[in-house]
Amino acid sequence: MNSLCVNLLNPPFSHIYIEKGVVDHPNTVKILSRFPKSTQVIIKHYKDIFNRSRQNYPVQKQSQNLIIAEKRPPFVYRGSPLCQNFGNDNFYYANTVINCVYNCEYCYLQGMYPSANIVVFVNLDDIFGDVRKLLKSDPVYLCISYDTDLLALEGFLGFSEKWFEFARFYPHLTVELRTKSANLNSLEKLTPQENVILAWTLSCEYVWEKYEHGTPSPMQRLNCIEKALAKGFQIRLCFDPVIYIKDWEDEYGRLIEKVFRELPAGKIKDVSIGGFRIPCDYLKDMRKNNPNSAIINYPFNAVNDVYSYPPDLSDRMNSYMLGLIRKYMPEEKIFTWK
């Protein structure tokens, strides 16, 4: 049972589950003030609700609730080899939020987590503390918006702003905030910084329309990026994941053309390209949850427990994308995931 009549559902965040230990945390108080109508349920530990057995991710996705919790160690993780490190050695990521308000059919979160409810960890200071420790020995490259879209939540969370403020004091820290949002209001509140990169994922029209449910259109994202560039933010463009679809060359050709028609290539920090890839275990769960999705039912190749497109197709897609982007950007600013 995967689809439900919309008028039967509670609105998003109708219920907010709050760990007893963080009820009075200032970030909790702030979040709760934004949802005065939500029913609050006090819990002992977020995993009591987030890790329940037999939850239905797609059903929960249709009426997501919020869980407010305390992050326990580890606060910062080593970056996954499936993610692009943009030439940075000390590649880490931190989760202040788990799960996303958008609903991309290919999103690995559906295979990674047992629940679609959104967990917000309010004790950012503990995470900052750990980053500070890491910075004592080496520069750090830190991705803060992998298991969520932090900018899309900025309206009620304000965590992007807090990361910007934190990064200001640590020149050896480079923060990447990945997003598909077009949240101009939130951008207004952020001050551009050399060491914070706003990384926009861009998809062709077809992929957006068919598979990136609830996300702003490519054009809306481009408008937002344009404003961000004008304000002086560091901007990264991520053509990642590139998805194999019918007429993919035309679709992605049009996308690249549009992107560089709208945006001044010279102001863009760098670009990444990467074909769809995912740990085998995650995809198995995703297929079980969403058996009618074409995109995740592609007959991928499994190598070292990771599914991706067959090597010849992967190579063709990468070199096609590279060929297009090279027309606008110098090669050293283009990072291809292989």
Binding site: M1, C5, T39, I43, R52, V59, Q60, P291, N292, P299
Partner: protein, 290 residues
């Protein structure tokens, strides 16, 4: 159910009450008939609804749910509904108030259970304490939730083996202020009865709004795939690859029958006599879906 194979396993809503007097108004409302095939529990049903009286207590509740769900395994659009009376720790709550429980605390073990709160509903909401022994009013300060009963956690524990958390609903009607020994069964029936129209209207609407996703392959397509797999003597791994390619092709293009037929018609493919021929034929088959 002493080994009786149920004729119709297509129930949609499974209702569990602890007491017959809780079940009575529901039986009457839906015109349920006693199912005499069950000797351990009282079971009542019609085409869409099946109700079991568990008898009071957490363990009885769990056994009752397991019994019925084992006999009639629910499908992903079926619902579990636990209806019963409960005590309230606050005398300001009028008797007859209907609650949907968003949290169940099992007093005996200290474990919490959480049904999903995905669906809109017209009731009050609260957590509930389930305890093997009745909680008395003088201990009301010790219970961490507003309501108390003796079954909800047992229903959840057993229910979660068969249902997902969004399919289970715990509806409790306040009957007393933790003096359950003083309640007359006719009052219990009345309290439940007066709320049954609203509860059933809600749960029926919910059930009607749920749709099962249909299988990707039609029976004919399943037959074709099985036939090709047999004729080519495909290994299990090859069969899985074929099914995955066919599934993707169907979801993208709507149909793959023509591809399979055209492949079968190719004279040089069948029969396959050895591993080498099978490999070659399989590669040729997979190209049909490229």
């Amino acid at each position: 159910m002493h080994g009786v194979v149920p004729e119709d396993t297509d129930f949609m809503i499974m209702i569990f009450t602890a007491l017959y007097c809780e079940a009575k108004p529901i039986i009457r409302f839906f015109g349920l008939k006693k199912d005499t095939g069950h000797h351990l529990f009282q079971v009542f049903k019609n085409d869409d609804i099946i109700l079991l009286v568990t008898k009071p207590g957490i363990v009885n509740a769990a056994i009752g749910v397991t019994h019925l769900c084992s006999a009639y395994p629910p499908n992903p659009s079926d619902l579990l509904l636990n209806i019963g009376i409960c005590g309230a720790g606050d005398r300001n709550i009028p008797t007859g108030t209907v609650y949907l429980c968003n949290k169940i605390y099992e007093m005996d073990t200290g474990i919490y259970f959480y049904p999903d709160m995905i669906f809109a509903h017209p009731f009050e909401e609260s957590g509930i304490v389930s305890s093997s022994n009745p909680v008395s009013e003088k201990h009301s300060a010790d219970i961490p939730e507003l309501l108390a009963d003796m079954e909800a956690s047992g229903i959840y524990r057993a229910g979660i083996l068969f249902f997902q958390p969004h399919q289970m609903f715990f509806i409790k009607i306040v009957s007393d202020y933790l003096q359950s020994d003083k309640i007359d069964s006719s009052i219990v029936s009345e309290l439940i009865g007066q709320n049954i129209p609203e509860i059933t209207a809600w749960i029926t609407r919910l059930h009607d709004g749920m749709t099962n996703s249909s299988p990707v392959f039609s029976p004919e397509e399943e037959k074709m795939l099985a036939e090709v797999s047999k004729n080519l003597r495909l290994t299990v791994s090859m069969q899985n690859q074929l099914r995955q390619a066919a599934r993707y092709y169907k979801l993208q293009h709507g149909n793959f029958s023509a591809n399979l037929s055209s492949f079968i018609k190719k004279e040089n493919v069948l029969p396959v006599k050895n591993k080498h021929e099978r490999k070659r034929a399989f590669e040729q088959l997979m190209r049909e879906f490229a």
